[in-house]
Symmetry: C2
Subunit: 508 residues, 2 copies
């Protein structure tokens, strides 16, 4: 660990254990430099890192302050409250498609969107790659590129695996139409209709849709919002349901933002290996880490070719290009064949353009900027939630990605909040779409991948009011419901939204 990382870790621990309280001013850079015997550059670097993690905040001419949005969930892990085993899925697609489609409407405040703002990506630079590379190419080469895909692109992806400490060669990679196709091909390689598949709860709704389409049974197991699946649950599910696959999002999970610690990733891989059950690892968010290093995927601990690692460039470089891949271990042959038979090659011109971009070397610079932007937007969003949402609301503060998961006080109904917020031009992602058994009625997923502005602040204030009104309505006046009061909560006289447990503004 470098010196600035050690310093940042020390201060982070002091904040975590309450030694430093929200609103406290940190010692000045000069002072810390003297007391620790570090250069001011090192101290700045540490403070900068803590700011990127959303733990402290600079105020003009006044120094750094401990800052917090909503209370951190690491102190009170959120779990699915019921385990719903062995579900044959019925309407996983129908339940989610409308929710997702509405977030795509341009006029909405897109807190429900599954994607960050496209303005964060080098789309012009990529279009230029398409334009310039086509001039140098033999026409033969820009036409059909059969699965497993373009050689140079696979080589560039393999290089990134290597540099993040994962041993995956280019021959172990198949290019797909986004991670969605990779995940579905891996599921098809590992399962037959009627099989049981373990998923975490809450989970990405795309996993539930894929299971439904393939006629698979979903075994939902609990997960900590911040720490991933409960190992005991996984162990029991393996014994009891004899699943043929397990599907997890291991880093900055959709919807919770949670990062499974590397030690737990290893434990999960070891446990699954004992039962010879493959892990389908959805890992599309890992490059969006706010800390210094890309978290290792579970794939890093795979010694038997049982981890089917799936990712894409959609969240970190090239949204809309639909360039994903699978590194499916021992299933490589079946996945390659599946890609060939069911959809042929991926568009050559886009494979070549991304390979060209990666070769030019601007990717890491772009990622650093993207991560910093997301970290800042997370801070803004959580600060606004803390200010405007009802007392008792809890939220995750993810260490990467662009999703915050909110748990509202018991009684809140996210599906109704969703319906009502849409009429106000705000989209959210309601909790029940992330569970086969429709758990998480009082939970929401909010996207902070879009620029923060006054409109976003107002939208959070309005959502807080809707959430508070919803609770009031649920708990008291059912007559008001019949009168249509529910659909105009903002116009109803409401108790002022209580402040979250921890104030957002510095005290001092």
């Amino acid at each position: 660990m470098k010196r600035y990382e050690t310093l940042a870790a020390d201060i982070g621990k002091a904040i975590e254990d309450g030694t430093l309280q929200p609103g406290d001013r940190l010692p000045s850079v000069r002072c810390t430099s003297d007391t620790r015997g570090l250069s001011t550059a090192t101290v700045f670097h540490a403070y900068y890192l803590l700011e990127a993690r959303g733990l402290i905040k600079a105020r003009d001419r006044s120094g750094y302050y401990v800052c917090t949005g909503a209370p951190q969930l690491s102190r009170a892990p959120l779990l699915a409250r019921a385990i719903s085993n062995d579900q044959v899925l019925q309407d996983a697609f129908e339940r989610t498609v409308e929710v997702v489609a509405r977030t795509d409407e341009g006029h909405m405040v897109p807190f429900g969107s599954p994607c960050p703002s496209p303005a964060l990506y080098p789309l012009a630079r990529l279009a230029q790659s398409i334009w310039t590379t086509r001039q140098d190419l033999d026409p033969r080469r820009i036409v059909e590129v059969l699965p497993p895909g373009h050689n140079e692109l696979r080589r560039q992806i393999a290089l990134r695996y290597q540099s993040s400490g994962v041993s995956v060669g280019m021959d172990e990679i198949v290019i797909t139409n986004g991670a969605t196709e990779a995940l579905n091909l891996c599921l098809a390689a590992a399962t037959s209709p009627g099989d049981a598949v373990v998923v975490e709860s809450p989970t990405f709704y795309g996993a539930l849709q894929a299971l439904e389409r393939r006629g698979l049974r979903a075994i939902e197991i609990r997960r900590h919002a911040s720490e991933g699946v409960v190992l005991q649950d996984l162990s029991e599910a393996l014994v009891r349901h004899r699943p043929t696959a397990c599907w997890l999002t291991t880093s900055f999970q959709n919807p919770t933002g949670g990062l499974m610690p590397e030690s737990k990733k290893k434990a999960v891989v070891d446990l699954l290996s004992r039962f010879d059950v493959p892990l389908i690892e959805d890992d599309v968010y890992a490059e969006l880490h706010f800390a210094d290093r890309r978290p290792l995927p579970a794939k890093a601990f795979d010694t038997r070719g049982l981890v089917m690692h799936c990712s894409s460039f959609s969240k970190c470089l090239a949204p809309g290009y639909r360039m994903g891949w699978a590194a499916p271990g021992r299933y490589i042959k079946d996945v390659t064949r599946g890609k060939s038979v069911t959809s042929g090659g991926a568009p050559a011109i886009l494979q070549i353009a991304i390979a060209d971009y990666l070769k030019q070397g601007g990717y890491d610079r772009h990622l650093r900027k993207l991560r910093r932007t997301l970290a800042i937007q997370q801070e803004k969003l959580l600060g606004a939630v803390a200010s405007h949402f009802p007392s008792g609301t809890r939220a995750t503060r993810a260490a990467g990605g662009y999703f915050a998961w909110l748990e509202l006080p018991a009684g809140a109904d996210a599906m109704k909040i969703h319906a009502e917020s849409l009429t106000m031009g705000i989209s959210i992602a309601p909790g029940p779409i992330f569970s086969a058994s429709r758990e998480f009625r009082n939970c929401l997923r909010l996207n902070y991948g879009h620029p923060w502005d006054a409109r976003a602040e107002q939208a959070i204030a309005l959502l807080g009011t809707i959430a508070a009104g919803r609770i009031r309505t649920m708990h008291s006046d059912i007559v008001g419901l019949a009168k249509g009061e529910m659909h105009n909560a903002a116009a109803v006289s409401l108790p002022p939204a209580a402040r979250a447990a921890v104030p957002c503004e510095p005290r001092g």
Copy 2:
């Protein structure tokens, strides 16, 4: 029918019934103009059309001559010789993948390739569309385009349906990753594993692979090389096997090049409708017609939403872009859902670029040029086949597309010819890959979608020698086989390849 079409049809009939013999000189344009009372422009138009169809040929300062490559198969319909019913497919993928992969190697003479030369397509113009359109777009719009796909692209496709006399609206269209994905999604919508599906024999190997992957039973029925499926076979298969779908390529079929007449398309649709069986119509070649008009698809005769029409831009405009679509009739909801769940949207940037190109209006001009080029290359290929292949070889002369189907004399082994020609740097597509029951051992598919040059001519001569040698080896000296003679047929003293039944050069 226009006057020049009537004239062309009359002359075509005279050639077909032997009134005009190969090598005969046609009456001069002036003379025909006088005797028929037509303008010289009309006569030129008719002669030009006949030339495009490969029936006549201009010789400098000497007029037009009846020309022929190999004998036309319409005189002797080629049928699958055995009907192999109710096959559970086992290795449809493995058998074909290597054959197809080898054709992709740059140094090969690509007679086995499934694609025409990329040099025939406006790839630079399309890349320009990507570059220019991205400048005018809101970043939001160039990112995710969810299924069913980009509105303007679907509108442009619907307009082309309208203008060719087929009533398909934009809301009936789903954009896919090439026609391959469209066909697979349609198959998934119409069938469950274990079902029986009717395919023609020979058929596109992709259909066999798709059936195999989905665990379906293949019911192969006979087809005329030139006229499509035998209705009686279809009728019997419907009664006997109760299939849940039928998969046919209706125009310029892969591998035979055959064009099912519109009357038969209607009869097929009517027959399937009576059994409530959907038709999966693979129609990727129809725009490559050598005659004046795009042949109607079976979809044009669909009154009950039972025809699932699948096509793409890969063969006619944008190879490598992987832009296909389905117009799946009453199955639209399931196909859209399947696209969403299994691979998400198609790349937005490519959808927008093609929509832009279609709007600009250069597409029809490009197609006219492409068709003419293919017609000329067909003439060259068939002429060379007639000159160099053994006596008794028969070949289809397609009215569009870029495939010729050759039937060699009994005893020829296309798999061995394939293996041997690869060692000589020539690829072909051997007949057995187009049949679940490995029929067509003595047949080959040759691609004339690549520029004709001396190397191509030499390659056909060499193939003819290999084919003749193969027959000799099969029929006579099995000892030579053991000595490795088979793998070096060109070096073995062979009887000169006999001329095909009809000489290629004009007699006069």
